[in-house]
Symmetry: C2
Subunit: 348 residues, 2 copies
DNA sequence: TCCAATGTTGTTAGCGCTAACATTCCGCTT
DNA sequence: AAGCGGAATGTTAGCGCTAACAACATTGGA
């Protein structure tokens, strides 16, 4: 008698409305919106016209339930404020958009418990794929994802083992490369400012690379400093302030360093700022090197020597790998290494 | 005969499985996971134990369809790489997480057509709320959102009209405030480096504030420069490089400026870098001021004078307003102005 | 002219869950 | 012992869409 059940939500019209109005079956309407080519042009136009007239918008929630596919990707990052992540998120966004996928993001605040909670919550929405940052994850996270048989890409490192697929680069090698550059330039007393977050694989690898390369060159172990207390992490793991503090700590620990390598460009720029305040000439009195090649590295005087990473490409790859696997579930998708480059600028 | 239909997806067990196994009705299982308090402790424990044993995870897609609520928020930003946005996204993320909502994000690349496309696509997933950046939107976007009767919050400006709700601050007044500061300090020949993206309300307001304040002080119109071609925008509307170029353009246009105001801190830091390269003393030969109070403003020597904004609070507010409105659809939710502060540092 | 192959449209049976209502259970009062 | 109210649980009827298959047109070749 009335137009429908009490449970009809909001004001949306449904495929059934359009079908009735256009004088076709429900399935034909579905086809018009999902695979327009499978419907004759005449029918298609009639249905679309009716749909527009009724302000119809397909309810993808219903479609998801019926088809078992959500076209939704879950992305997990440590922090949303980190510009590294931002670049690779943009890469994913650009790929996913043209492939008609959407994504949800959540941050873990560098905590494995939160990561597990986030992954659990995401899984309830049955994403078609998941992207994780890094390759170290809690046992529970790993089991959860493996049991769900959902395609997973881990990013920013290429050192396994992986849950499923991965794209990134060899942080270990990259760190050796830039350390070697400093050594080749004649710097012998090298300090290192670590990323303050604990246990992130890619930073562990960078530190390992530094140590190995110095050992290979026959040097003393360097001074290593983590500029912030872990408790401060949540706000911003990588900060300019951390770089300044780090340099001061290094100077206290061993006054005679003549080069500083940082786990990220942001920290390195903080060091440059501190040098400026202290009147230290870069690179004459202190050489500085970073990691990441963010925009600021090229702009800050005298230019920051760094490792160029390819965050955008990592994001793009991750998305592409997921979509490929979703469409071809048996496809074997190999690790994609996006590489890195040493970029030498005025700071060394 | 077999355990179910061909259409059963993946390996997930369902509420029906848990109900059968635990010897209760489907509805009881639903209650255990949705409103645990409405079930006796004995039953709850039995059901949870069974659920865990079967690796059950409630399918929220199905729940969404049945309940007409998705607990999903759609967030639209111009760019994912912009650290302004990143801060307010983090604010939303933190609020939404504790309120058990998830969110999807998409970027428009500063294009109104893309904004409309994004909003259209999001609406198909029937989000419970939408957050837009800024208060200027295409006619179609506005109509779409109004017709959908979905709660909407617009952010970063408080000058209406609004689609629904809004939180932000008065960019116009903030720009007047920092301009007045420069005037009070005795600077008379002030250049302005605008944000290169076109037509963003908050930047229009900032420019308007600058002009009005200078007029009120009885000064000449200032030199205004937009550092990049609009074509370059998509990558990064606000860049250090843009600041450097902007200063050079200003110097060409009118060599005798003694202060520069920038539409964002990033641009202003670019100006500071360029000063350093040119050997200009800040603030003696050139005063510099920014907008935003990003972390770098406090760290870059000699400290950047700026307007502190409250991006995190804007994000938090936006999420809170949405959730309030979702729970109380008739609630009248007033504009929330988060204010701003002038922060004076060494650069002026 | 007839039939197979192809293209187009329709019918059926859910996807997994929850709102709304119905029923049962339990402890307590009278 | 009967009656009552509230708490706990169950039953019913979809939410709006799509997979799978069925049926019907249309075309062109034998």
């Amino acid at each position: 008698m009335t137009d429908g059940s009490m449970r009809r939500r909001k004001g949306w019209s449904t495929m059934a409305d359009v079908a009735r109005e256009a004088g076709v079956s429900l399935m034909t309407v579905s086809r018009v919106y999902k695979r327009p080519d499978s419907v004759s042009q005449r029918t298609r136009e009639k249905v679309l016209e009716t749909g527009n007239r009724l302000g119809f918008s397909p309810n993808s929630i219903a479609g998801n339930l019926a088809s078992g596919r959500t076209s939704m990707i879950g992305i997990v990052v440590p922090s949303l404020r980190n510009s590294n992540n931002a670049t690779s998120i943009q890469g994913m966004a650009d790929y996913l958009r043209q492939a008609s996928y959407h994504f949800m993001i959540a941050n873990t605040g560098y905590s494995m418990e939160d990561e597990t909670a986030v992954v659990k919550a995401f899984m309830q929405r049955r994403p078609d794929g998941m992207v994780l940052t890094g390759t170290r994850h809690g046992r529970e996270t790993i089991d959860l994802l493996k049991a769900a048989h959902v395609p997973v890409v881990e990013t920013w490192e290429t050192r396994g083992p992986f849950i499923d697929m991965a794209t990134g680069f060899k942080n270990y090698e990259a760190a050796r490369r830039i350390t070697r550059h400093l050594v080749d330039r004649g710097y012998r007393r090298i300090g290192y400012i670590d990323y303050p977050a604990i246990g992130l694989d890619r930073y562990i690898e960078r530190l390992r690379g530094l140590k190995e390369e110095l050992k290979a060159a026959g040097f003393e172990p360097v001074s290593i400093v983590s500029p912030l207390d872990p408790g401060d992490l949540y706000q911003d793991a990588s900060s300019f302030r951390g770089g300044s503090l780090g340099l001061r700590k290094l100077q206290e620990a061993s006054g005679d360093i003549n080069a500083v390598l940082c786990a990220s460009d942001i920290l390195a720029v903080g060091v440059l700022f501190e040098c400026q305040r202290q009147g230290l000439r870069v690179p004459d009195q202190l050489a500085v090197a970073g990691f990441g090649d963010f925009e600021i590295a090229a702009e800050v005087p005298p230019g920051l020597t760094t490792i160029r990473t390819h965050g955008y490409q990592i994001g793009w790859n991750a998305a592409e790998m997921l979509v490929t696997r979703i469409n071809q579930p048996r496809a074997e998708i190999p690790l994609r290494d996006v590489g890195y480059e040493l970029v030498v600028r005025g700071s060394s």
